[in-house]
């Protein structure tokens, strides 16, 4: 895709990793404003605080405070996961594909934690 509509084709799109594991959505896009040159996409933002900011900036600040207060930081080190645009492998009508492995990224912090601390302890799930 050469020309695209950033809102329609990129923002809010499903993000998948190199094995096509669904790993989140394009919750935000970061633009770099360059003098004399068109703005370029610097990075993709993913995470709840990015979404919170879209609802209201105060909600973002409040969520951040909550996070610090109740130290879930052992599970999730960063509240947002920022991927440089250079890691984007493909943008197609179906998804945005990144050249990463989902399981090794902060996008899967909760997924990994739930798997190891909750799912693994359910009887009948063989480890």
């Amino acid at each position: 895709m050469k020309t695209m509509d950033l809102v329609r084709d990129v923002l809010d799109k499903q993000v998948v990793d190199r094995d096509e594991t669904k790993m989140g959505r394009v919750d935000g896009l970061l633009l770099e404003i360059r003098p004399g040159q068109p703005p370029r996409i610097e990075a993709i933002d993913m995470g709840f605080v990015v979404l919170a900011r879209r609802i209201h900036p105060r909600l973002e600040a409040w969520l951040e405070r909550l996070r610090r207060r109740f130290g879930v930081s052992s599970i999730r080190k960063t509240a947002r996961y920022r991927v440089p645009w250079s890691a984007v492998k493909d943008v197609n009508p179906f998804c945005v594909q990144l050249d990463v492995a989902a399981l090794d990224t902060p996008a899967f912090d909760w997924e990994r934690w739930l798997r190891d601390h909750v799912v693994a302890h359910v009887p009948g799930v063989d480890s």
Partner: protein, 407 residues
């Protein structure tokens, strides 16, 4: 049509029949028949016509774009626009799930005599276990085949030889002779129970799980028309039975106990147990679909990995959503909320939130860049536009009707 498609068609129809009839349909049909005989059949027919078109659209959308509705809606309208409908629908789904769990608990209460609240947690665990252990295919097959038990209502209706003239007259809307508030409350609740929002999110996600592609457009049409039509026949059966059995005795269904007598005339010995079994199965099937619809919607909204065919270790967050949903909604029953009242009010709320379903639907089905030649034609659009107008009316009138006619 090849063998796989034929199987899918048959299976889809059975699933649609099995998944259609639930606590909401049973409660509203029993009330309608007992209080107004055949006079509210038109509401069921109207709801059925609309749900056929909507289910067809959601399946067609999934087959053509390979995306389920919540997924596509977030991408299409953006997070901020989808947020409010998402939260409202999640809340409603939570009430529907509680209604289904309440239905199963009540059926068990009928057979065992133990109060429904006692059954809340065992039923929650059973429902959860079913979802945790099985794949999408097993869920489809088992609940739908067992769901055919609800055909008992149709058999009973036929055995009672209902007065054809009165039944046909009920197919056209007419003004009530008594209790207008109750009449319109039930009419709205029937619409809410037939056009249940979870159906579309579940059905389109299911189509993606079954890996439909554009060649399934016709299979989908068959499933929507035959499946939903047949499912509504069961609800019609329940109205007829209630009208013939309960109405002449002056029994108004204010409690599931009264509804439980519905099948005893047609099946003297087995009627009571049959009713309990049909109720439990119908509610279990629907409860599983609602819980999955919640998990699909949440996972797709945030872009998490999802799929009932995956091992819970691969989509832990998806599994946690239905786990939490089942657990929390069973608490409502555990705390002793009356399942029938909960169901009736929930169905009216279902009707009230229809604009959140109808508006994105109408817009997204007209996106020619996405759907190309499969975008809505003028027939589907007329029906969708009519639904939109109806939904807006329902959004305004349902809640006042709950207060005036719901008690």
């Amino acid at each position: 049509m090849n063998m796989k498609k034929a199987t899918q068609l048959a299976l889809g129809i059975v699933t649609a029949v099995g998944g259609f009839f639930d606590a909401g349909n049973l409660a509203t049909s029993a009330q309608a028949g007992a209080s107004f005989r055949f006079q509210l059949v038109w509401s069921l027919l109207l709801g059925t016509l609309l749900v056929i078109f909507l289910v067809e659209m959601s399946g067609r959308f999934a087959a053509v774009t390979r995306k389920a509705l919540p997924d596509a809606i977030r991408e299409h309208f953006g997070f901020t626009a989808w947020l409010v409908p998402f939260l409202v629908l999640t809340l409603v789904h939570f009430l529907v799930l509680a209604s289904e769990i309440g239905g199963i608990c009540f059926a068990l209460h009928l057979v065992t005599g133990l109060p429904p609240a006692v059954w809340a947690l065992p039923v929650a665990v059973l429902t959860w276990l079913f979802l945790w252990r099985s794949t999408f295919g097993t869920i489809e097959n088992s609940t739908s085949l067992l769901g055919l038990l609800t055909l008992a209502f149709v058999v009973a209706a036929v055995r009672h030889h209902p007065p054809t003239g009165e039944l046909l007259a009920g197919m056209l809307p007419s003004l009530p002779h008594h209790d207008p508030a109750k009449y319109w409350f039930i009419a709205v609740s029937i619409l809410g129970s037939v056009i249940a929002p979870y159906l579309f999110y579940f059905y389109s996600s299911g189509a993606v799980e079954d890996e439909w592609d554009p060649s399934y457009v016709n299979v989908n049409r068959g499933i929507a028309f035959v499946g939903m039509g047949f499912g509504s026949l069961i609800a019609l059966g329940a109205i007829v039975v209630a009208a013939v059995v309960l109405a002449p005795r002056g029994i108004e269904v204010n409690d599931y106990h009264q509804a439980a007598m519905m099948l005893t005339d047609a099946f003297p010995f087995w009627g009571f147990v049959l009713f309990a079994a049909a109720m439990a199965i119908a509610c279990l099937g629907a409860g599983i679909e609602v819980a999955l619809a919640m998990a699909y919607t949440t996972a797709q909204t945030f872009g998490w990995n999802w799929g009932e065919d995956l091992d819970p270790r691969e989509d832990a967050r998806f599994c946690m959503v239905y786990t939490a949903a089942i657990l929390v909604s069973s608490l409502l029953i555990l705390f002793g909320i009356d399942p029938l009242k909960l169901t009736l009010v929930t169905m009216a709320i279902n009707a009230a939130v229809l604009p959140f379903v109808a508006i994105p639907f109408l817009l997204i089905m007209n996106d020619r860049k996405l759907l190309k030649e499969h975008a809505n034609g003028w027939i589907s659009n007329s029906v969708a536009a009519f639904l939109l107008v109806l939904a807006l009316v329902l959004a305004v009138v349902s809640i006042p009707l709950v207060i005036m006619g719901g008690s």
